[in-house]
Symmetry: C2
Subunit: 425 residues, 2 copies
């Protein structure tokens, strides 16, 4: 693992992948085909791209029942406990409508309403994770979204992993379609014979899914475009090298493009972690992936002092940040940009990936500068409410009309003044 | 004004304008030029597109002082009062960081942090409105954003309207650049010699601005793409036709593509409003614009009963909704989709456009189904915080490791288990 100085930080930053012109064209074609041919296009692309020859897209109750029967009881129990923790955390995010009344009778407020219908994309293949099903579905469930449609690409045999179906069942979602890629995004956005259109689409996917989401954005809402996963560990000399290395590798095993970075004030820890990473890599089942990730995207940044280390962390704006220092809580106020912040030795990232309750769908590629973890707010919208009283109107009408005329909008001024005529018309 | 039945509602709906392929190409070229040539490109496009030959982009303190001196005192006083109302409403939207502690010592929470830097686009020409300056700036100011950069296209003489500069001054924003169009968006997103890059760009603009925002989305965050403005008035026989007509026309004078729709249960009101609109149109200064808007985009939808009227309103998901019925408050719970809801006779839309306090930057083109008014949440981001205690770790470690192995992620399981080794390493 290379050890670099903070001024080499740019070599560790990654932008958001915008795709190639050719990929964009492919996605535009798929979207047009789905808009024109609907289910027929979905079934055709599923044959072509997933190798699955389906007759219908929707997962049946029988398939869900079989998935549940196939799972071991202990696993189901752990899934249920994780789901309960995730639900409980997200319930604390729920916001109420509010209003503010004035003595003159005026009421101003903000009405919070769940979205009518959302679509959730769950990747297929080796990235078909029950934990991701929970993390994407639960905020929508807790927000009170009436209709939640999940899409996921089937295997060549036309099946969906049991863990994925079990997780959807535990989260309380029954509307599941076997379709993935850009075609699934198009189906959700514009609707087909089988799939009614939704208002918002969330969930991670490959570059074609990301480009399709960008393409339909505006017609429907989307969540942030997700890039490869990242961890930054901020550690001082009190951290244990074997634990830091294990956490870095847990990120590296995801994907060759995952990034694992240690930011430390201790040259001794830097050396030890570099050695530990090599030692632990050797017997990991996914060592081939992890090695490429560590070599290409990993790094150790050695800083002069804790302030330089904090500046480095904020500049990286990582998806996951672990703080393994003597007093981690005291640094929380100095951390401006991070998707999720794990404090102290026992808050290893997988605690949050699976179990603690906060969402693991987090802003990547530096977008933690302006984006948030997936949360209940993503599944509600607000409406302003204005009830102006007669008394308030009489007090303010002339001022409002004058403001309108200052902007050259005479009809606005006249709309206000029309109330001065008290006759029925 | 045409009177239609609810089943003809589709003729009144408009999609989001995605621009032509040619417009997208123009925007991509401008963005690339700004990325490569920075200020030089900004100055060149400002000469070419706005006809202004500038040497520097930033508005000086002298220009701001002159603008304030140029304004009438009474106008400045009204602007200050409006700004205070807008600030007060948005202060109620501010959210605190929160945490939840468990008896085992675990702490889970959500940290709220303002964005570091945002850019605000203010349109030029006849659409350069002080009220829009307030509405776009104030949520960012209240959120605590440290750096707010405003951009607006200059006149051919290289000036910015006094009202716009005065409004920015009242809102407390000093960093203002004379640049508009796609080039301004590119400058804000990627930075130039004069303009440091920002994390998020908000504010309405023409199709080139909208396409540029869509193009830079991902590298920076953006607000929703705004379409032409809309009003729906929901009225029963208790409403006064002259007031309804005046409100419809206040929307119609904005733009030929603005939409003004009356949804009513009263055939008598429908007739009267149609006549009133014609009568009031005649002597409006902007009657040419308003007439095209009313003829092409306006309509009266006559419904059988109030439930059908409410369904129609929710289906339209209007930007502005006025409810002029006998008991407007009792209908609030049935309104699912609207950007801002104006209740009762004295809540004419301009009350909210200028003065009451809620934001007038609202979701258009049916996007109120999933979008909210511009608000303080748009200028903060959240980070999850996880502090797991040793006790909680000991209780949950085996379950978390088992969950990780269920997903085939051995390094995740080992990261958790690495804490079981209590030796220093």
């Amino acid at each position: 693992m290379r050890i670099v100085k903070p001024d080499e930080i740019e070599t560790l930053k990654r932008g958001v992948d915008g795709g190639t012109e050719e990929q964009r064209k492919v996605v535009q074609t798929i979207i047009e085909d789905v808009q024109n041919e609907k289910d027929e296009a979905l079934l055709r692309y599923t044959r072509k791209l997933d190798g699955a020859d389906l007759e219908t897209l929707q997962v049946t109750q029988d398939e869900i029942d079989s998935a549940l029967a196939e799972m071991e009881d202990e696993d189901l129990q752990i899934l249920r406990e994780a789901a309960a923790n995730i639900r409980s955390f997200h319930e604390k995010q729920v916001r109420q409508s509010w209003f503010d009344t004035k003595p003159d009778g005026t009421m101003l407020g903000q009405k919070v309403t769940p979205l009518d219908a959302v679509g959730v994309y769950v990747p297929g293949g080796t990235a078909a994770y029950p934990s991701s099903v929970f993390m994407n579905l639960m905020p929508a469930v807790v927000a009170g979204v009436e209709r939640i449609a999940m899409v996921t690409p089937p295997s060549e045999a036309g099946t969906v992993p049991a863990g994925v179906l079990a997780a959807a069942h535990i989260a309380g979602v029954r509307e599941i379609y076997k379709v993935g890629g850009a075609q699934a995004i198009a189906g959700l956005a514009y609707g087909t014979e089988s799939i009614a259109p939704v208002d918002k689409i969330v969930g991670p996917g490959n570059i074609f899914v990301a480009l399709a989401k960008r393409e339909v954005f505006g017609d429907v809402d989307i969540d942030m475009i997700a890039g490869p996963s990242e961890i930054v560990v901020l550690a001082d000399e009190s951290a244990r090298a074997n634990e830091v290395a294990a956490d870095l590798l847990s990120q590296a095993e995801h994907d060759e493009r995952s990034a694992s970075v240690l930011v430390t004030t201790s040259a001794e820890l830097a050396e030890k972690v570099a050695n530990e990473v090599n030692a632990q890599l050797a017997d990991l089942p996914r060592h081939a992936i992890a090695r490429v990730s560590i070599e290409n995207e990993g790094g150790i940044i050695l800083c002069k002092n804790i302030q330089e280390a904090l500046d480095t962390v904020n500049s990286l704006a990582p998806e996951h940040l672990e703080v393994m220092t003597k007093e981690p809580m005291s640094l929380l106020g100095s951390i401006k940009h991070a998707g999720a912040i794990f404090l102290g030795r026992y808050s290893s990232e997988p605690v949050g990936d699976y179990f603690a309750g906060p969402n693991h769908v987090l802003p990547t590629s530096g977008t933690a500068r302006f984006s948030s973890p997936l949360n209940v707010d993503d599944f509600v919208k607000k409406s302003s409410v204005i009830y102006y009283s007669e008394q308030a109107y009489n007090r303010d009408a002339d001022k409002i009309a004058r403001f309108a005329r200052l902007e050259g909008l005479e009809a606005h001024a006249r709309a206000i003044e029309s109330r001065k005529d008290r006759d029925e018309s």
